[in-house]
Symmetry: C3
């Protein structure tokens, strides 16, 4: 791991557009760590104010943080308006990205003669490249991956162990797929007939755009006809499930355990938090943000923030949830009103009489 | 892919019991596609009226649809009462089902000498068939599958890459299991003791009935004692999780991310939509339909349609949800009532006095 | 499978601290089974009173149950205060735990020369042990497992087929991981920049404590910096998803489809029921119990039982849910109140006039 002087780190951050200034001693650091776990020779950061208590006790040699927050004695400060961006630059500078094993094309991989494999692409022992597959340059295919017939994969993709890509699917360039994820399996395509389910051949495929990263144990159905699409630059967490024929736009982020049913259309830069479900055949506009555990049952206009099951605009939905938690109190008040009204009615009658 | 004349397709659909008539020119088509993606030489369909706008712009050579919906100039119409059924027949006729690689029994598969493998069964490189396993005729076992000791598998089953079947489990005939699914892992069987968890040996197994199809990345626990059962003809989407000892009846359909806890009994032809949870030890009757993101906590009578967390009959449950969304308004009305009642009481008192 | 006399079983249970007495004939049994599925030569049990109806019809030779519940003629009774604990002892005595295949270190496994493997550790065909890995004694690594660079694994661990452990992660002793589970994949670590997502190198790792058992198809993110931790003795069901940097305490139990976001801190002996979500950066105290399908959005004090989305104390939360189901009735009562108040006001005015 490369060491860096704090002054060097400041320069690298500033060069990336995140102006950073060193206050205190110029030291050598070799790693980034959390305030809690850091030790000497490591640089840490304070971005979320929730963790300010950890600052006093940190053993880090230096901390990236905003102006106005004091650092303990002996800890150098790297002052920056956006500590999260600056620490990202520092992590890249000090740690870099994962280096993959260099198997070449392993003799223990199972590769069909008709497959075409690019330059500098590594295929691990126990990976399978089936008939008529095309893989670009600079890819890494780990063990236990199964790349089925006629799949096309671009340049510089990484498929971690045990990824499966079904026949005819297409991956763009710089796609990263984590372990256990399946691309292009058959979706729930059945025609009901006499109380039974007749399987409809799933004749479509799935297309994953450039620069997509997909977490572990996700499942992206192929389309029944045509294609399921995941737009370029989109990122998925773990166990995201996408139904057949759904189109997800570019630069989206879906968190863990999100499920989207079939034939949905989701715009660009949509964020969907954990355990949310999206119904089939609906349209979600650009830049929509959906809170966790929501259920989206109908079309959503661009730019909306929504919440709830069924999901509605976040402000009113939140007020409804808060109101719901006080429901037993409101019920008491309604009962009380009924009682008082009855009493008053009696009083009025007596007066009347 | 086989080409067909539209007149031939009409005949095939009609022969299957879905009377279909050609209106317009008899053309040759080679594929089925969506209205949006279809091009010349392809046949499309209109089943969901939501997509009627796509009809005007389609480039398909022909469209399967009901009477009364006009087609654009130059597009042939295949008129049918049930376009979804007819297009299913057309997809089967034009595309057919997936053709699997023909590895024979690969020398790169790991097969115990005591395993028995039927005729015309293909075992891929990197698949494992453990001791005393029995596999029937005409099966396809892809790479990375692990079939553990004493498992029995019927005829014409397909196990896609990286499926795991734990020891002693039983699969019927024509079972299809998609990638990453695990059958028969140990469930959460622990006895609490002194704040710790003592593992109970999971001595049972799991049985998957004939004609079952299971999606990707599902997990079906073995029973602690006796068996977990998935009834014949039942279909699961992706990431369905079934607890130990649960019995699912025949011809059910469970959508993605459904979880059923242990020792539940679910009848025949039950449909459970996405992200729904079913508690342990409860009974769900035949033909029940559960909406998405529901939580089923107690027994459900046959034929019911339910919704919600906890789930109740769909009509009242929906009314409660709608009411909840207007809760802040109702609270205002209660406050207003309190105010008006107080004013009226004052008025009555004054009058009284 | 070893046979046992009922008198022997009683002695074994009593020796384990669960005093058990034989009433009726001393017979030989060879297996434990459910009341419903048991046949002659098998012992069953009644713990959950829900199953008392199955007792009359059981074909078991003997039943473990409490005093005061009668057994059918010819069935021997093993009387015990805690039938669940006693039957656990009986299952261990009669069935024992799974016996794994004995591959030794298979020549068909892919093992880097720099890896260190302990005594009596079995590595299956098709397993991969990458560079600088250290594995202790008495472990079982099934086919399709991928143990990445520099991973350390303790003694007596079992990794079922197709488990993936990413680089630098650490497993303690007696850890059991079921098929399809992934440990240490990159989490959703991106810095937003100009509407795109810049990947932050995930420089941390994940640590799994001693005696942890993890179900099938789970995903445990590595930390961005420092470590994700799963405490010793903790048990997970299937498809549990843990975010980067989260710390789970010892002796917890998380049921299927639970998702915990990143940087959460969860105490010891916390139980989380199925499909519940926990937000990032929050703290849950010791011995907390969370009901199914809940959403935990804020810190939870030790010992609390919570429910709901968002989750609150179980008593009031349950009352709110019950109230919600009657909401349409309450709305009717509010409308009725408004009407009656208006009538009374009219009456008062008339009287007044």
């Amino acid at each position: 791991m490369p060491e860096k002087r704090l002054s060097e780190l400041c320069k690298i951050c500033s060069d990336h557009g995140f102006e950073t200034q060193l206050k205190g001693q110029d030291k050598t650091v070799h790693a980034v760590n959390t305030l809690e776990d850091a030790c000497e020779g490591e640089v840490s950061f304070l971005s979320n104010p929730k963790y300010i208590a950890s600052l006093a006790a940190t053993k880090a040699s230096a901390v990236v943080l905003k102006d106005g927050v004091e650092v303990p004695n002996g800890v150098s400060a790297l002052r920056c308006k956006d500590p999260y961006a600056a620490i990202t630059v520092a992590i890249i500078a000090l740690h870099g990205y994962r280096r993959h094993p260099q198997w070449g094309v392993s003799e223990r991989a199972n590769i069909e003669a008709s497959a075409k494999i690019g330059r500098d692409t590594h295929i691990a022992p126990g990976a399978t490249i089936a008939a008529d597959v095309e893989i670009g340059d600079g890819c890494t295919i780990y063990s236990g991956c199964y790349i089925a017939d006629r799949v096309r994969i671009g340049h510089e993709c990484v498929l971690y162990p045990n990824v499966v890509v079904y026949d005819d699917c297409v991956l763009g360039h710089r796609v990263t797929i984590h372990s256990g994820t399946v691309i292009g399996e058959d979706g729930l395509g059945y025609a009901p007939h006499d109380g039974r389910w007749i399987k409809i051949p799933q004749a479509g495929y799935a297309v994953i755009g450039d620069d997509v990263e997909i977490g572990a144990n996700c499942s992206i159905d192929r389309a029944t006809l045509g294609k399921t699409e995941i737009g370029s630059g989109t990122k998925f967490g773990n166990v995201v499930v996408i139904g057949h024929g759904t189109k997800v736009g570019p630069d989206c982020m879906f968190v863990g355990l999100v499920g989207v049913a079939g034939s949905a259309k989701i715009g660009k830069h949509v964020t969907i938090a954990g355990q949310t479900g999206v119904a089939g055949h609906i349209t979600i506009g650009d830049n929509v943000s959906v809170a966790g555990q929501s259920a989206v049952h109908s079309d959503v206009e661009a730019g909306m923030k929504i919440l709830g099951s069924p999901a509605g605009e976040i402000g009113p939905a939140r007020r409804s949830l808060i109101a719901m938690h006080k429901l037993p109190d409101w019920i008491k008040r309604v009962k009380q009103l009924e009682k008082e009204l009855a009493q008053l009615r009696e009083l009025v009658k007596e007066t009347d009489a």
